[in-house]
């Protein structure tokens, strides 16, 4: 594990929120005029999140569907603005960055998506997909582009002789490698991987995970690894952040999360994961469904499903507090103890 003494985090989010609202259409406005109970629907996709990723660190971001982990990833990668809060790139507020600096911050953060088929242009050859951005940004001269692309492909485990092919001529795992090669071609320091191995078969997934680990060592990369798969996150991450309905509920070193989970949601999530070691065991069950983010429960979002919910959980939002060095959890139970 690379430990840098650099105290300034690679990226830091301070109280960041993202709201999506559906404005009323004409019929809706008309109905409202007539006194019908229609209102603009607002989804709090991300609700007051603080997160920092240090240089050289791999942070795993875990949560179930609709918890806002992808939205958060997109804001970190700078492809979606935050509704509220500040995002600091190496100590500087991204909102105040201008010109060349803003461009550099964006270039140095690259994203790798879940479905390579929808994130690769089907009408471009692989050499163009990988070579376009470095050429545009002046990182490589046109006459050296060929060798540059070859090098990027080789590093991602692709045969450079395939560079005249189109994305559809590759298998799923290879396509994911093209996505990785494209992201690395602009020499980023920070990669945001949004469910990057979720769609792959187990044996291919293992190959891509190994590639991520190899690249981390070779290029000293920092990762924000977003996944719903706890075992993948456990394997890769130094630190793990657990989200539930737009809020961070727990944050700690990977060992702490998997051995000493504090938040009831994290505990039930870990219980629900099927493991190979567990033979013929009765599956542990968290009751209830994930509530709609349109209308989340008051207080602690998890209280309707929590086996330990108290009256206080129904009204007051628990804050993310440090319960042990480097281990934060948002649960009222920690105050009682």
């Amino acid at each position: 594990m690379s430990t840098t003494l650099n105290n300034i985090p690679m990226i830091e989010l301070v109280n960041v929120s993202k709201r999506f609202s559906k404005t009323l259409d004409f019929a809706g406005k008309f109905a409202k005029k007539l006194g019908m109970p229609v209102r603009e629907e607002v989804v709090h996709a991300v609700d007051g999140v603080n997160l920092s990723v240090r240089k050289g660190e791999v942070v795993g971001l875990v949560g179930e569907s609709g918890c806002g982990k992808s939205t958060l990833g997109r804001m970190v990668a700078g492809i979606m603005p935050a509704t509220e809060g500040d995002i600091f790139w190496q100590g500087q507020n991204t909102a105040n960055l201008s010109g060349a600096k803003a461009k550099l911050a964006k270039l140095q953060t690259q994203m790798i998506f879940q479905d390579p088929m929808s994130s690769l242009n089907p009408r471009l050859r692989v050499s163009d997909i990988i070579g376009e951005a470095p050429l545009v940004h002046g990182m490589v001269k046109r006459d050296q582009l060929e060798t540059y692309v070859d090098e990027q492909m080789r590093r991602a485990g692709l045969d450079p002789s395939y560079k005249r092919r189109y994305p559809h001529q590759f298998s799923g795992g290879q396509r994911q490698r093209i996505g990785i090669a494209r992201a690395l071609a602009v020499q980023p320091e920070f990669l945001v991987c949004d469910e990057s191995v979720a769609a792959l078969d187990v044996s291919i997934q293992a190959q891509v995970l190994n590639l991520f680990m190899k690249l981390r060592q070779e290029l000293d990369l920092t990762y924000l690894f977003i996944s719903h798969d706890l075992s993948v996150v456990e394997h890769l991450s130094d630190r793990v952040v657990i989200m539930y309905l737009g809020r961070v509920v727990e944050e700690a070193k990977a060992e702490d999360v998997f051995n000493r989970a504090n938040h009831p949601y994290t505990q039930s999530l870990l219980n629900a994961v099927p493991r190979i070691e567990a033979r013929k065991k009765a599956f542990q069950v968290v009751k209830g469904e994930i509530p709609s983010p349109l209308n989340p429960p008051k207080g602690c979002h998890f209280h309707p499903r929590c086996p330990m919910a108290m009256d206080r959980c129904r009204v007051e939002r628990p804050l993310l507090k440090e319960i042990a060095p480097g281990h934060k959890s948002a649960c009222h139970l920690n105050d009682a103890a």
Binding site: D201, Q205, A206, Q207, N210, A254, S268, E277, R279, V286
Partner: protein, 333 residues
């Protein structure tokens, strides 16, 4: 076991006769599912696990055809059954659960319409009785306030609830066999846990046999009694779940287990399988896994037999793992 098993598949071959050539999606597959037991059918995409499930249901479409073998359901050969016989079995004695419940459910009909129709298709009961049975079954799979939910449309359910409805429909006639094709793959972990718990309970209570098709070894490990691992249209290993996962015989099973992140030490490289699944159009002669296999030898260019290496443990390999005495390279060659 003295009683006839619920399902016995012998040397099943399902081939697709396409213009580009014959694709042997299922090629010489045999397995048995005893009454009340769960068989986990595991494989990666394109291994033929879904086509095997479809063949049992006789749902393989043109240009696919069952080209050989027997599918003995309580002694009756489904491979030779007429379409009429199949209709009276499907949804009645054998049911199927699909990965995407939105495909099983009709989006423009209410749940009660769909469930009552299913009940009345196979049982001579009044509408009221059928409704009663539908409601009871919904309650059984853990759907709260089933009376109200019967009046809903599929889109008003969440993903997990929709899958429960699909399971309830499969259970309406208390079938002897359920073929479940990746039913929890699209669901969140906590919801998957709930469904697995329900299924486990139901299988134990009703004595229904299950074929659970999945790519996820860890799901099978908790749920199944037996496991069959498929690769390129063939079952490469079969046996008791615990034994197969602890001491895999086939190098492919071994490689799959090595690829699972939680089995490895944190941060260390995974023991992945090199290369990728071969195209079914041009499989190599002999063992289909040889190009990716760390133990491949000259002998693997011949077709390996599906043989019992340990008691009740079969594998399709010349040089299996975890077998001490036979099968070393020298002896076979």
């Amino acid at each position: 076991m003295t009683q006839t098993p619920t399902l016995e598949v012998r040397n099943l071959r399902t081939h697709f006769f396409t213009r580009a050539g014959v694709v042997k999606a299922v090629d010489d597959v045999s397995f048995t599912v005893p009454r009340g037991k769960v068989l986990g059918l595991v494989g990666e995409s394109g291994s033929g696990k879904t086509v095997t499930g479809f063949s049992v249901m006789r749902l393989v479409d043109e240009p696919g055809r069952i080209a050989g073998g027997q599918i003995l359901f309580k002694g009756q050969d489904l491979a030779k059954a007429s379409e009429e016989e199949m209709r009276s079995l499907r949804g009645n004695r054998i049911a199927m659960i699909f990965q995407d419940p939105m495909m099983t459910l009709n989006p423009v009909l209410r749940i009660d319409t769909q469930m009552i129709e299913t009940v009345q298709a196979h049982a001579k009961v009044s509408r009221e009785e059928a409704r009663q049975r539908a409601r009871d079954t919904l309650g059984m799979v853990g759907i709260p306030s089933p009376d109200e939910r019967l009046m809903s449309y599929p889109h008003q359910f969440s993903g997990g609830m929709r899958q429960r409805v699909a399971i309830a429909i499969a259970l309406l006639h208390k079938p002897d066999l359920i073929v479940a094709d990746e039913p929890t793959t699209a669901l969140d972990v906590t919801i998957q846990g709930q469904i697995l718990a329900e299924v486990q309970k139901l299988a134990a209570e009703t004595g229904t046999s299950l074929i659970w098709i999945t790519h996820d070894l860890s799901v099978v490990s908790g749920l199944a009694d037996d496991i069959a691992v498929m690769y390129a249209g063939k079952v490469v290993e079969h046996g008791d779940v615990g034994e197969v996962l602890d001491t895999p015989l086939h190098p492919y099973t071994n490689g799959l287990l090595g690829s699972v992140p939680s089995r490895n030490k944190r941060g260390e490289p995974l023991r992945s399988i090199p290369g990728m699944t071969p195209s079914l159009f041009n499989l190599p002669a002999g063992c289909a896994f040889q190009a990716r296999c760390p133990r491949a030898a000259e002998v693997c260019k011949q077709e390996p037999p599906f043989r019992e290496w340990l008691p009740a443990r079969e594998a399709r390999c010349f040089i299996p793992h975890n077998v001490s005495e036979p099968g070393t390279k020298e002896q076979v060659a």
